[in-house]
């Protein structure tokens, strides 16, 4: 190992390149493996402090965290963790669970010590392309087209089912609206929509532990790249105000943007929050008649219904963070590379922050009612943790040089669409006899309502 390598201060952030490489030839000449890192990180002493009897974690079995019950309703188990083992070592899943509000937000805002690994990493395709999602022209194109079209699209969608006397709101409204919006942002030909939906969802669902979905997702990514390649060339010659055109006009480091970059950018975007928030919000309103009446009476309450939904029934339950290096937190030494499950679902129902946290209360007084800046609190109140929206924006609420934050765009989109629904179907109610419920389709996926039959 070279001297410079020994002097290299810290391993780089994930994917930031290699300070040095050591190649090893096996003693049998068989496996050749390469090391990539800093010899100084080697240590000989123990990291885990021995727990004493009072620290026994006998109120939970680790298998409960992957059980079918947990996939349907994670809240009871998360409560056990939050109230007993706020920093729980999941022996089976080789990870830690962080469940209290202050702890979860402290991890999310600590980029120096904890990193996110992109969906590309789980796919094993880090080299496919660049994530351009932070480029301002892209954000602008996205915001402009969403703001210009959301009301029209919502009207078209609701108009499509309003006269049928009823519909499945979870699919026809909550699932459909974000996809129609995305197609609009990308300015896709109408005929391509079904095919795009198919590929987009396969791509998003594949970044998970399930091997068949992953294969399907890898296929979808290839198909999307092939689909966007000619479109990118065409828009480069003849640009519009859509996201694809914006991508062609970018000049990122490492050469002009490619179809791969566009697909990677789409992959790394949140695909769950708007969908899940709409479905969960309407699920909660339709199953809480008093809250629905309140929202109907005072339309300004729609926004608060949305905010309360993200707190009470977060669609994205958990975000993963990996320790960049050894760091002491919560009374423990967290080793390098450790996986932390930061549970928004548990944090959002932390009784230390919210009174009566398991109740859905539109306009509750202890929830931050506006977009917080740079931290998870404003006006002395905690905001709900919504993982798909990223960290609270540090830019002004109405910035001059860039579009509004994802927090604001998503909130306004959900509010506008819900207002359209209330305008066009004011007597909307749950189909008699229906018993909708929230659940994830699979471990680690969006927790939302997949069937919400309504009548008008």
């Amino acid at each position: 190992m070279s001297t410079e390598a020994k002097q290299a201060a810290k391993p780089p952030a994930y994917g930031a390149g290699a300070p040095d490489k050591d190649a090893f030839t096996g003693r049998n000449g068989v496996p050749l493996y390469t090391r990539n890192g800093n010899q100084n990180d080697y240590r000989t002493y123990e990291v885990y402090q021995r727990e004493r009897v009072k620290e026994a974690t006998d109120k939970i079995r680790p298998i409960q965290l992957i059980s079918p019950e947990f996939i349907k309703n994670p809240y009871p188990v998360l409560e056990i963790l939050r109230e007993n083992y706020p920093f729980y070592r999941d022996w089976l899943g080789n990870s830690f669970w962080v469940t209290r509000y202050d702890d979860v937000t402290s991890i999310f805002t600590d980029d120096a010590n904890f990193e996110t690994r992109p969906k590309r990493w789980f796919y094993g395709i880090e080299d496919l392309g660049r994530d351009l999602g932070e480029a301002v022209p892209l954000l602008t194109a996205q915001a402009t087209r969403i703001d210009a079209n959301v009301e029209r699209i919502a009207r078209e969608i609701v108009g499509g089912f309003k006269d049928n006397g009823g519909t499945d709101l979870a699919i026809e409204f909550a699932a459909r609206l974000p996809l129609e919006l995305l197609a609009c942002v990308l300015d896709l030909p109408k005929d391509d929509f079904p095919k795009f939906v198919d590929r987009y969802w396969r791509m998003q669902r594949g970044a998970m532990w399930e091997p068949k979905s992953r294969q399907a997702g890898l296929g979808a990514i290839q198909e999307l790249v092939e689909y966007f390649r000619p479109m990118l060339a065409a828009r480069r010659a003849n640009p519009g105000d859509d996201l694809v055109s914006a991508v062609t006009m970018l000049d990122p480091d490492g050469g002009p943007a490619t179809a791969e970059d566009l697909v990677v950018t789409l992959l790394e975007q949140d695909h769950e929050t708007l969908h899940g928030a709409l479905a969960n919000m309407w699920f909660q309103l339709l199953t809480h008649q008093d809250q629905l009446d309140l929202v109907k009476r005072e339309r300004r309450m729609v926004k608060f219904a949305y905010l309360e939904t993200l707190r009470h029934s977060a669609p994205v339950l958990t975000a993963n963070r990996f320790a960049r290096h050894e760091v002491e937190r919560f009374g423990r030494l967290i080793p390098i590379g450790a996986l932390l499950h930061c549970s928004a679902a548990a944090a959002n129902r932390d009784p230390r922050q919210y009174k009566d946290p398991d109740r859905f209360i539109v306009g509750r007084k202890d929830l931050c009612q506006r977009e917080p800046r740079g931290q998870y609190r404003a006006d002395g109140l905690p905001a709900g943790v919504a993982l798909g929206l990223g960290k609270p924006s540090k830019h002004p609420a109405v910035p001059e040089d860039r579009p509004r934050s994802l927090y604001a765009i998503t909130r306004d989109t959900a509010t506008t669409a819900s207002n359209v629904l209330l305008d066009m179907a004011p007597d909307i109610r749950l189909k008699p006899g229906a018993t909708p419920a929230l659940r994830s389709l699979r471990l680690g996926e969006m927790h939302t309502c997949w069937n919400l039959p309504v009548v008008f």
């Binding site: 800093n38 006998d58 899943g93 005929d191 929509f193 939906v197 669902r205 699979r442």
Partner: protein, 483 residues
């Protein structure tokens, strides 16, 4: 213009049935996703477009895997030699050559931080690395090898003989005499208690501690999994620590000694030795001594018990091999090693990547947990011909003196049950003595031993005996002739 309704487009896109299997799956068994297959066959978990068979990580939680793991390990070795299990956040290394490589590189693949013992064992030696590990390991390891071990052989023989002699005048459900035939359950009659007694004796604990010993041992073992029994394990660990503390205080003042069968003083016992040992100029703390002892307690019991049970269960299902072993006591070494190769009681050893490392094309980030699957390494057909078959006559398995410095000798390879390299099981030599001496004495006592099939659990066909899989034989009913 495409007019397909959105609902059907969306249902296809998310694969509407994909989530159902999860919901139906029974807690921790997953039998409706992974039905129990005939031994040697496996559930089809799908195929990638390039033809590579896929692995659903839930298989590792399934009942099917526990009883019939070998086809799945083969799948991993052949197609996913470094497999990332996202549900467990763990990488698995499954080929013999790859894991031996990693075992010897204790800088690149360190043993910390592991926390696998979950606080129940304490900060045990095997979770240290490098020089810290070497110093502590040698402190107690030296008592379990070479001359020190030879000195203990007569005591091991005596303990085994005592237990077997007890059968003649015992009245227990595990020992039934019917005319000339006696039926015993080997576990309760011998294997459960024998290793614990040996460990108790080796550590120099007084005989009165034996009862406590079983309590410590059982509680600590069941507490390792960090579930409902976690607290019980921690309490037992605390109780053990309190007990050791009192003994240590005593022996620091008045060391006790070991004596051979002729009554000659052959040196201080382990605890007395540990009391006067220093590391880095510090005397070992009581906590450190307890951690060493807890490791001997936990490591020296269940493993040897499982080995004894698996040895007899596997051997007696192969009549020709049983005949050879019962006719020639020297064959027991081969039975011991072949059992440990074929169905060893310890599945694997965890390591952590010290650096970002690339093995067989898979990039493993620094800090990741990498499980060296000893089970799989011992069944690697690149090393052992017809590896899934139990055969004490196999020519490719090294059965000589245990090797610490290597794993290949005389053109043969050793099994992976003890691991290799700096962390090779320090109890390997004594467990070998226990299992072989115990089996020899058992074979002298039991004439014409055979499995009582009526009392044994059956496989899914209802006829053949249940496979061992990655479990250990829980009970083993044997018939033998008294004269």
């Amino acid at each position: 213009m495409n007019t397909e309704p959105f609902a059907s487009v969306f249902a296809r896109a998310i694969g509407a049935d994909a989530g159902e299997a999860v919901e139906k799956a029974a807690d921790g068994d997953f039998q409706d996703i992974f039905p129990l297959m005939p031994v040697g066959q496996r559930v089809d978990m799908g195929t990638a477009p390039d033809g590579t068979p896929l692995i659903d990580p839930r298989i590792f939680f399934s009942a099917e895997f526990r009883r019939n793991p070998w086809p799945y390990y083969r799948l991993m070795r052949d197609h996913h030699p470094v497999y990332f299990n996202q549900l467990n956040n763990t990488y698995y290394v499954t080929r013999y050559d790859d894991m031996t490589e990693c075992y010897f590189d204790d800088i690149g693949f360190n043993t910390i931080p592991k926390g696998s013992s979950n606080g129940v064992l304490g900060n045990v030696t095997h979770e240290l690395s490098g020089v810290e590990h070497r110093r502590r390991r040698n402190l107690f390891g030296q008592h379990l090898v070479g001359k020190a071990l030879e000195n203990r052989v007569p005591a091991i023989e005596r303990l085994a003989q005592e237990m077997i002699d007890d059968w003649s005048h015992v009245d227990a459900p595990w020992c039934i005499t019917n005319g000339n035939v006696r039926t015993i359950e080997l576990g309760q009659a011998f294997a459960d208690a024998f290793p614990v007694r040996v460990v108790c004796d080796v550590l120099g604990f007084p005989k009165e501690a034996r009862g406590n010993f079983v309590y410590w041992y059982n509680s600590i073992m069941s507490g390792l999994g960090a579930s409902e029994t976690h607290k019980q394990g921690m309490e037992a660990r605390q109780h053990l620590e309190d007990y050791v503390e009192s003994i240590v205080e005593e022996r620091r003042a008045r060391p006790t000694f070991l004596y051979d069968n002729a009554g000659r003083n052959i040196g201080k016992d382990i605890i007395s030795k540990l009391c006067e040992s220093q590391v880095d100029g510090d005397y070992l703390s009581t906590e450190e001594i307890t951690a060493l002892i807890a490791l001997v307690v936990a490591g020296g019991g269940e493993t040897t018990r499982g080995t004894l049970m698996n040895m007899w269960y596997s051997l007696l299902q192969k009549p020709d091999q049983a005949e050879a072993a019962l006719a020639d006591e020297d064959m027991w070494d081969a039975v011991f090693h072949e059992t440990l190769r074929h169905s060893n009681p310890i599945g694997g050893q965890p390591r952590h990547a010290t650096f970002d490392v690339q093995i067989r094309g898979t990039t493993v980030p620094a800090g990741s947990l990498i499980e060296m699957v000893n089970f799989s390494g011992s069944h690697d057909e690149r090393i052992f011909h017809d590896a899934d078959n139990f055969n004490i006559f196999r020519p490719d398995l090294y059965t000589g003196k245990l090797l610490r410095s290597g794993y290949r000798k005389e053109g043969k390879c050793s099994h992976m049950a003890f691991g290799v390299g700096p962390h090779m099981c320090p109890g390997a030599w004594i467990s070998h003595q226990e299992a072989v001496i115990g089996s020899k004495i058992l074979s002298r006592t039991m004439k014409n031993p055979r499995i009582n099939r009526d009392r044994m659990p059956k496989d899914i066909d209802g006829v053949s005996l249940a496979p061992i899989g990655i479990n250990k034989t829980r009970e083993l009913w044997l018939d033998y002739d008294l004269a």
